[in-house]
Symmetry: C2
Subunit: 432 residues, 2 copies
């Protein structure tokens, strides 16, 4: 078939075969032999078959280079084709929509206060330490250098995606720590995206206007709160509307369409898509159709979500990381310390014991899609180079690999994470 | 977010929201009030919101023109973005994979003979009449003109996708007529793609080599038979391998990955992707995991397959159709007559009665993805212009709308379609 679009789609379909097949094999190996969540296997597959490793070397007849930067992709710093990246992003939307659906809304509201306190600690410390490291290593000239601000911004946002996936894999999404971690991760994603918006506008104009920063903040927070509250208020009506359909499959299809709508809306308001998807899932989590949706979405989730994590692994450029290895290791160390203490200490203040606080701190470790988005924007706007981009990937990678490795034994030993007895108790939780 | 790739993906996600939401509303309206299969509503939605209609006029903040030819899409004659087209093609793969899974393999083999006979009649007549019409209207100079051959090729291939969808919608996929129609549609897709390969190679080289034609034919038919037979032989082993996985969702994910593999392989061998997907589904249809797969694939199917049909509707360019309206109507008429008689008469010869033969003939009417692929290749290679492309779309559209409108009452009246009594009887069926 001598048809450009057909060749592109054939390549995509072949790539999806390779990605899903190997992801499931590696995931199975992780769970069965390494007793680790399968997400690590998926990231590993991505690193091995990505454009910077084997995938850039393997050439197939008709397909060409199996994974590699396609021509015409100069608009982007992301080294995979736009079609594959689009599938991965749709997978991220589904991941967060399902994570929202599986969240216990009542628990989420109960832990919203503590989550906010923990999120603030988990944003302020990493941001300051990241910017400081950039100045210390001479990478940035001063704290006011956009590069220092970017390095700080990259450090802030815990990956809701990876966190939700790890907690789901080990069945702890619904514990007090799980709900708190996810709530805090959502809040610090919102804050992280906010910081990004501010840093980008500063890097562009070269000036810092408090009024402008305030505007961006009000818009982003207002949108997120508004979407979630409106969603919750309308969820009964949405359920009733969907249950009225006679044609098969309408409920799942339209619910998914609404998740897409919320995702696009979030992006249009300057937030990340995944935040909209999570809000829509959260809004529907308390509705009569939540259980049906969870059950019907499961196969889509299992087939598609690994694509997101494999593609994340593919973004790792080993060569770019080499030149700044020491800086990268220091940044990674600071990323760990700043989150564990930045989140753990506030956690102790809002009712968790040492064990629970440590779980929360470790659960907040993994940076992921937002760090990659921030780093990508830095690269596109020319504020950071491929070396700092590599450092960001390294930090993302180390924190992502460490979190499940520590979190799994921390939870599997068992034991209450809260100081007060009784899961239902509400005392000491309103510290935020 | 000032990031090209993010804007592209935000637009895609918003488009998917619009497409899935409206498709389900229109589908429901079709089923409930018009008593027609929902696929017609989906095609209608595509025509209304496509780039040549409302979608080309509506402009949204951040999103831009809702549906329109994106810049950088000069490689293709398809007026939607490559990401959206990719999602639609993945949906087509899923459609055919599920159609294969739902096919009763034993029945398929039993009806393979009759199906082949019917397919041949349904290829020869439409090809000759299409080429003849092109010469008659002075569109082509002679029968040897590549344009005449293209017009013939566009007429040949029944859409397996639309046919399978209509038969599934009315619950008749598993009747003798249903199995025969689907079998014949698959065979004539293979033959249609074969004709395309030959016509394209003639248009390129300007010469006609019988050895070359033979080579292409042997390769294509050999590949298809080989894939199906190997798939059937390995299906028990594949089942056992998949049932060995402990991690959740592995069965569906890997089965889907295998469908992607077969699709890419088919395309690499010069066939269409959907043929590979159907073969893989057919191979697994008799395995122990078939029922699980059918059940788990249903939500993916219901959410994604409408995207394919809406995108098909979007390709209709009303303006391009205007200039050749008479020719278009004649071609559409010939497309109907040639399939109804070309398939109906052989059907009578292989054991169907008048009612059954008419059902088979009407079931073979809808042209779809293959006709569009052939027309698209013609446009890209410069053999046909946008006017003939418009005529092809018109013919595809009319046959696609007519088939379910006639087929639904033909089946709902009931009555045996075979001459011999007893569904299990094998007599008179080995005419092929």
């Amino acid at each position: 078939m001598e048809h450009g679009i057909t060749a592109v789609i054939t390549k995509l379909v072949f790539q999806l075969f390779i990605i899903i097949f190997l992801a499931k094999l590696a995931g199975e190996a992780c769970e069965r032999y390494l007793k680790q969540p399968s997400v690590l296997g998926e990231l590993g597959v991505g690193m091995v078959i990505g454009p910077y490793a084997l995938g850039g070397l393997i050439t197939l007849p008709m397909i060409g280079v199996l994974f590699g930067v396609p021509h015409g992709a100069e608009t982007s710093s992301i080294p995979v084709s736009i079609e594959l990246y689009a599938v991965a992003q749709i997978a991220a939307v589904i991941l967060l929509f399902v994570a929202g659906l599986e969240t216990d809304l009542k628990k989420f509201i109960r832990y919203a206060g503590p989550a906010a306190v923990i999120a603030i600690g988990g944003v302020v410390f990493p941001f300051l330490l990241g910017a400081w490291a950039a100045v210390l290593f001479g990478v940035a000239e001063s704290f006011k250098d956009p590069l220092a601000l970017f390095m700080g911004a990259i450090m802030t946002a815990t990956s809701v995606g990876i966190t939700a996936r790890v907690l789901t894999d080990i069945g702890k999404l619904d514990t007090p720590e799980g709900v708190t971690i996810l709530g805090a991760a959502v809040v610090d994603d919102v804050v992280g995206i906010l910081i990004l918006a501010i840093v980008v506008s500063m890097a562009h104009s070269g000036s810092f206007s408090l009024a402008k920063v305030g505007m961006i903040a009000v818009k982003a927070v207002g949108f997120w709160l508004g979407l979630t509250v409106i969603g919750i208020l309308l969820s009964k009506k949405i359920s009733k509307f969907l249950l009225g359909f006679k044609s098969s499959g309408a409920i799942v299809a339209i619910a998914l369409a609404l998740a897409f709508f919320a995702s696009a809306l979030a992006e249009m308001f300057g937030l990340a898509m995944i935040i909209g998807a999570y809000s829509m899932g959260l809004a529907l989590s308390n509705s009569p159709i939540a259980e049906t949706l969870e059950e019907k979405m499961a196969p889509v989730y299992h087939a598609l979500v690994p694509v997101f994590f494999v593609v994340m692994g593919m973004l790792v450029d080993f060569a770019a990381m080499r030149s700044l290895l020491t800086f990268g290791l220091v940044v990674s160390g600071l990323a760990i310390v700043s989150k564990v203490f930045g989140c753990g200490v506030p956690a102790m203040g809002v009712g968790f014991n040492t064990r629970g606080s440590f779980r929360v701190g470790i659960g907040m470790l993994p940076r992921g899609e937002v760090a990659l988005i921030v780093a990508g924007v830095g690269l596109t706007t020319g504020v950071i180079g491929t070396d700092i981009f590599g450092v960001s990937i390294m930090m993302t990678l180390i924190t992502t690999i460490m979190a499940p490795m520590i979190l799994v034994p921390l939870f599997s030993k068992g034991g209450e994470g809260r100081r007060r007895k009784g899961i239902g108790s509400n005392e000491g939780l309103t510290g935020g």
